[in-house]
């Protein structure tokens, strides 16, 4: 144990390694993958994100132009953000706050007119 003594003494008089969480929190790192959010106005309901998501937690309904995500199944991998061609999915740099009840993120997009929709389909 004797070899450990200098370290222990140093720790005793040094600053603590931990923070008084939640009173003090660390600044999040700028490009950490956190909570997912969508800029639904930009979304064209192409369903790419829904098909790529490894947790399969995104549901996109083209007819009703809704985008849904179960945030409690999301694994924060960021794959959907990468595949989205319209760049309308983003991640905050912090995790979602804990919640007492489960819910589904529900976003209503614009229902596009027929010809426009077909154009995006073939693209």
């Amino acid at each position: 144990m004797a070899f450990m003594t200098p370290t222990i003494v140093k720790n005793f008089f040094g600053k603590p390694a931990t923070r008084m969480y939640p009173i003090t929190t660390r600044e999040p790192f700028s490009n950490a993958r956190g909570e997912l959010y969508i800029d639904v106005k930009e979304c064209n309901m192409c369903t790419l994100c829904a098909r790529a998501c490894p947790a399969q937690c995104i549901t996109v309904d083209r007819e009703k132009a809704t985008w849904e995500c179960d945030p409690f199944e999301c694994v924060y991998c960021g794959v959907c953000v990468d595949v989205c061609g319209r760049k309308c999915l983003h991640q905050h740099d912090q995790y979602r706050a804990p919640a007492v009840e489960k819910f589904v993120m529900h976003e209503q997009g614009e229902i596009k007119k027929k010809p426009k929709k077909e154009a995006s389909d073939s693209a």
Binding site: A2, M4, N11, F29, R33, A52, G78
Partner: protein
């Protein structure tokens, strides 16, 4: 002599994960040990039937949290080999950097748990305190603390710019300095040696015959490390395996301790030689064929067998994790030891049970 059967685990203070060992003791001496698994079996291999080969990257990352990056690297390496993808050199270097960061944090985690197993709490705290800096390094460079998810087929998703490289270098240096301060405690301390020297000995011949992997094998004097094959960018790192000959718990601990420092060395080399260029290439098509890939995890050799038939889903994905290989040697380490040494011996193989049972 009285023969007693002692159930060890699945819940035990030293075990981070559930494994059960039925230990037969005569007085205090162990005569037989039979392991039993199955408490965290998830059947992740079969998930390949319903998730496509790209989504499987995120699935294999979750085989083991602690070495998630290396699992994914092994998997994408296999798929790339099958599809004949040329991975950019920069991506291969970045994979080395993140792999070694992972090795560092995994070994620090283990060193802490190990110290905890022989009852050295302040050492445990100190190792974990250092580890936290490595976790921060990963979060800042890759976006997450543990499951950093940087691999894609054809490269990596994140890049390191110059400032980040500098910062990583200075942090790694500092981390190494702090680890070095614990070197005498870990390797020369009387009480640490008392608990680990000549405990759980496994000879070179036994280790080979029982198919041990990683530090278990190298601790017994076999210089076998998958990084010697020079996969990815390891061929540029001038890698030398770390070998100890005693084959006891102390030797395995020493191998891991020295590997932690070596990881820092490799990160320095990789950042110094980081080539310019792309970090990923576009990959089209689907994999077809059969392939075996092996990489070195913190716990030893990891092997993936992948069979694909040109459709979206893989035909078969088989994962052989190092702890799976280290369980038969464990049954050979225990007999002849005292019951009080069981926690130390089990910890000395660095058991990762979720990984074993997948």
């Amino acid at each position: 002599m009285a023969r007693t059967i002692v159930p060890f685990g699945p819940q035990h203070p030293v075990l981070p994960e559930p494994i059960h060992v039925t230990v037969t003791v005569e007085d205090e001496i162990i005569t037989d040990a039979v392991p039993a698994l199955g408490y965290v079996h998830r059947g992740l291999e079969t998930l390949a039937d319903v998730r496509d080969h790209v989504q499987m990257i995120q699935v294999v990352e979750r085989v083991c949290g602690i070495c998630s990056m290396i699992h994914a690297a092994c998997y994408v390496q296999g798929i790339e080999e099958m599809m004949g993808v040329e991975v950019p050199r920069r991506a291969e270097y970045l994979r080395v950097i993140w792999s070694e960061l992972h090795r560092m944090h995994s070994h620090l985690l283990w060193l802490g748990l190990y110290a905890d197993a022989f009852g050295f709490e302040s050492l445990f705290m100190q190792f974990w305190r250092i580890r936290e800096r490595v976790m921060d390094l990963m979060e800042a460079t890759a976006g997450a603390r543990v499951i950093i998810s940087v691999n894609v087929i054809g490269g990596v998703r994140r890049d390191l710019d110059e400032d980040q490289c500098k910062w990583v270098l200075s942090e790694v240096e500092d981390v190494e300095k702090q680890i070095r301060q614990l070197q005498t405690t870990m390797l020369n301390d009387y009480s640490v040696k008392k608990r680990t020297v000549d405990v759980g000995v496994i000879t070179k011949e036994q280790a080979l015959e029982l198919g041990a992997a990683g530090p278990c094998l190298r601790g017994s004097g076999v210089a076998q490390d998958m990084r010697m094959t020079g996969y990815g960018a390891y061929d540029d790192m001038g890698f030398e395996p770390i070998v100890e000959t005693a084959g006891d718990c102390y030797a395995r601990g020493a191998v891991r301790f020295r590997e932690t420092l070596q990881a820092g060395e490799i990160i320095r080399k990789a950042i110094a030689g980081l080539p310019e260029g792309e970090t990923s290439v576009k990959v089209r098509g689907r994999p077809k064929g059969e392939v075996i890939t092996r990489v070195e995890q913190p716990r030893g050799e990891l092997m993936y067998y992948i069979k694909a038939n040109g459709s979206k889903n893989l035909d078969r994905l088989r994962i052989r994790t190092p702890t799976f290989a280290n369980i038969p040697p464990l049954t050979a380490m225990l007999p002849g030891m005292e019951l009080a040494d069981v926690p130390v011996i089990i910890l000395s193989i660095d058991p990762c049970i979720s990984c074993t049972e997948r």
